[in-house]
């Protein structure tokens, strides 16, 4: 490959194409750009030589590595680029320059951040992902989406500020900004970086920007958003904090708590947003385990998740596009008019639920296996709970309430062809990744061969993956969990889908915080004039008193006191002089 092309970061190509798309008015030309740029990006990436710095710079004394591919970031970047292509196809029915440009630039920033070789370059593209992605929420052009976008931007910028702060400390203590993993959270600045990554990964209590913003984005926007930010954070954690034990518990908590929210949530795009939390939890947990096989599991599961979650988001986007709603209480029976979308949604649901022959079966199991082999009993039980939970909300609830269940009577057209095409390709990837490796590069073998620790992955594949034991235990869990659904439905124990908003930790700032600020404003409005009057009253009285004492007409200016003042002043000066002399002597 020519040197110029070798040094061209595929992420930069996407950002350039995204910026160009903002100015291309001809729809067809813009569509060609949005589809061709990711394809070229994939080609650039797969022909790049690994473990070589392809582009670097020295800025203000900082050595920046702008483009470097290795075993860990290759699969993340590849997934981002393929997702960007699918997103572009999915958006072909629209004519929105800003959305097209923002989607491409956002994907490009995620790729560039992943391929960065130092913390400062990572920070720059970290911020570009925040700024570019906010337009995908704003383009929904509702007031709700506007406010959600502002909250989203605030949280994302906070993540960037924390990261920059941490970088400054690290530069001072280490003297360099290379992506050398941190082993100690008490090292100066490291906690800031950990929190910055934690916000983007949506750690518990730092998570609500995701469920707040993603469901309010455009039809295309939520599909695009689901792919990049959280997985970029997973990559950053895997790069900088492998084996950090806190992450095991944080990740396990992330897998469990969204299950309860997803069960009662009515907005199906919000259910999928909780599902993102849940799946990222598995990855964070794997990073915490930190063994080569666990990092393989994290990478593989992130790759698979980008496509099965994208597929589920696409199917809900198609439903929203055709019906105008994704509320479970208003939907049902859509398989009658959207059979292709139904099939693709079911494939996504089976993939995320880890049915054998579907993608998560070959990816999530690596993480759970490593947790078990490390002897974390409670974590193992939490992850198994989360596996049953993900079957509930993403495996059953999403397809059941949208496409089956009670017939809403809604009859619409099937999704546009471009949406079906994007869903079809994503569905193919979900199935292909889950297939046995009949040849070394077929099915999951293709994915395992690209993992950062290939030998360990192949060993796992040979000894455990498609063993009867693994297939039986997984099927047992899934069959009995589905049976639980049928039993609960049959005996009317399953809670009905109801309209309403579910309170989460964002209540603290959206209601309590907002209420507190509003109350303080009201108090100030009412108490302000009284306080001002009291202030001027006190200062006025003080002025009058001082004037009465010190002004030329005041008490102290009268003749009787003038002599006394002179005497006292002379005495005080004499004392000061004596003290000065004695001190000097």
């Amino acid at each position: 490959m020519p040197a110029l092309l070798e040094s061209l970061n595929p992420g930069w190509l996407l950002i350039l194409a995204g910026v160009a798309s903002l100015f291309i008015k001809m729809r067809q030309v813009r569509q060609v750009v949005t589809v061709v740029a990711p394809i070229l990006g994939v080609l650039l990436l797969i022909f790049s030589v690994q473990n070589v710095t392809h582009a670097s710079a020295n800025v203000m004394g900082l050595d920046l590595i702008l483009y470097r591919v290795d075993g860990l970031n290759f699969l993340f970047s590849l997934a981002f680029l393929i997702a960007s292509l699918l997103n572009a196809i999915y958006a072909l029915h629209t004519d929105d320059r800003i959305q097209d440009g923002a989607a491409l630039a956002y994907a490009g920033a995620a790729v560039s951040a992943t391929l960065a070789g130092d913390l400062m370059t990572l920070f720059v593209f970290w911020e570009v992902t925040a700024i570019s992605s906010v337009f995908l929420i704003l383009r929904a052009r509702t007031r709700a989406s506007y406010f959600a976008a502002m909250r989203y931007l605030g949280v994302q910028i906070l993540s960037g500020v924390l990261l920059l702060n941490g970088i400054a400390y690290v530069l001072k203590s280490r003297g360099h900004l290379s992506l050398e993993a941190f082993t100690d959270l008490s090292e100066p600045g490291v906690m800031f970086i950990f929190l910055a990554f934690g916000i983007k990964a949506a750690f518990p209590l730092l998570h609500n920007w995701l469920q707040d913003a993603y469901p309010k984005a455009t039809v295309v926007g939520s599909v695009v958003l689901s792919a990049f930010t959280t997985k970029l954070a997973v990559y950053a954690l895997a790069r900088m904090f492998p084996g950090q034990e806190h992450l095991i518990w944080i990740g396990a908590t992330m897998t469990v708590f969204p299950v309860f929210f997803a069960v009662i949530e009515n907005d199906l795009r919000k259910v999928l947003s909780y599902s993102i939390n849940n799946q990222v939890g598995f990855m964070v947990c794997g990073v915490g385990i930190g063994t080569p096989l666990a990092i393989n599991g994290v990478t593989a599961h992130a790759f698979a998740d980008i496509f099965f979650k994208g597929l589920l988001m696409m199917s809900m986007g198609a439903v929203l596009y055709r019906t105008g709603t994704v509320k479970a209480s208003e939907l049902g029976g859509l398989h009658r008019s959207m059979p292709w979308t139904t099939v693709f949604c079911i494939i996504g649901a089976m993939s995320i639920s880890a049915f054998p022959l579907f993608s998560a079966f070959v990816t999530k199991s690596i993480i759970i296996s490593e947790v078990a082999s490390a002897g974390y009993v409670a974590i193992f039980l939490m992850l198994m709970f989360a596996s049953a939970g993900v079957l509930e909300h993403s495996g059953i609830k999403i397809p059941y309430y949208a496409f089956f269940g009670h017939d809403s009577g809604i009859r619409v057209k099937e999704a546009p062809f471009n949406m079906l095409l994007a869903m079809g390709v994503a569905a193919f990837i979900c199935v292909f990744l889950g297939l046995p490796a009949i040849t070394p590069n077929f099915g999951h073998g293709w994915l395992y061969n690209l993992l950062p620790y290939r030998e360990e992955a192949i060993g796992y594949s040979h000894h455990h993956l498609f063993s009867w034991e693994h297939i039986l235990t997984q099927m047992q869990l899934l069959i009995l969990a589905i049976f639980a659904f049928v039993v609960l439905k049959r005996f009317h124990i399953y809670p009905p889908e109801k309209k309403g908003v579910i309170l989460d930790s964002d209540w603290v700032y959206r209601k309590a915080g907002y209420g507190l600020v509003s109350w303080m404003g009201t108090v100030w409005q009412k108490a302000g004039p009284a306080m001002t009057a009291a202030f001027f009253g006190v200062t006025g009285k003080a002025y009058t008193w001082i004037e009465a004492a010190f002004s030329p007409r005041g008490e102290l200016a009268r003749g009787g006191l003038n002599g006394a003042m002179t005497v006292w002043t002379a005495v005080l000066l004499g004392i000061v002089l004596l003290l000065s002399f004695s001190a000097a002597g």
């Binding site: 709700a144 406010f147 009662i264 082999s373 002897g375 089956f404 057209k413 047992q476 589905i482």
Partner: protein
Amino acid sequence: MSDETGSGRDTSGRFVKRAAEQVHNLHTPGADGIHPLAKILFGWTHRKGIANIIFWVLGALAVISIVADLAMKRHDYMSFANATGFYGIYGFLCFSFAVVMGWPLGRLLRRDENYYGDAGGPPEGVDPDAPLGGDAPAAHSAAEGDA
């Protein structure tokens, strides 16, 4: 539209073969709005008593999976996970627990849709023919807000 001539032309003289016509019909919803493919793929879900059949088939599969477990020597890292039917029973209990918790949690956490301000309608760009959304800009009045 049917091919009467046997030459691959339809009665209007156009090159529309019967296969193409069938494909076209397969993707054209009938007057009832139901997609023909839906009848082929999911017609079985409309059968009377299908809920009962699914219940019993799943129950049978559950039993079979546990019986098969009896015949298999497993080597789980966690010794308790080697117990027969552990994964199935644990999955059943976890699933049921998560769902049943939906009742108290729903009562505790569910609020009116406009709790944070007017929830509004769908985003801009949905199909203008969408039955529950329609023309997006009209669905969002100036009063819409979000605290």
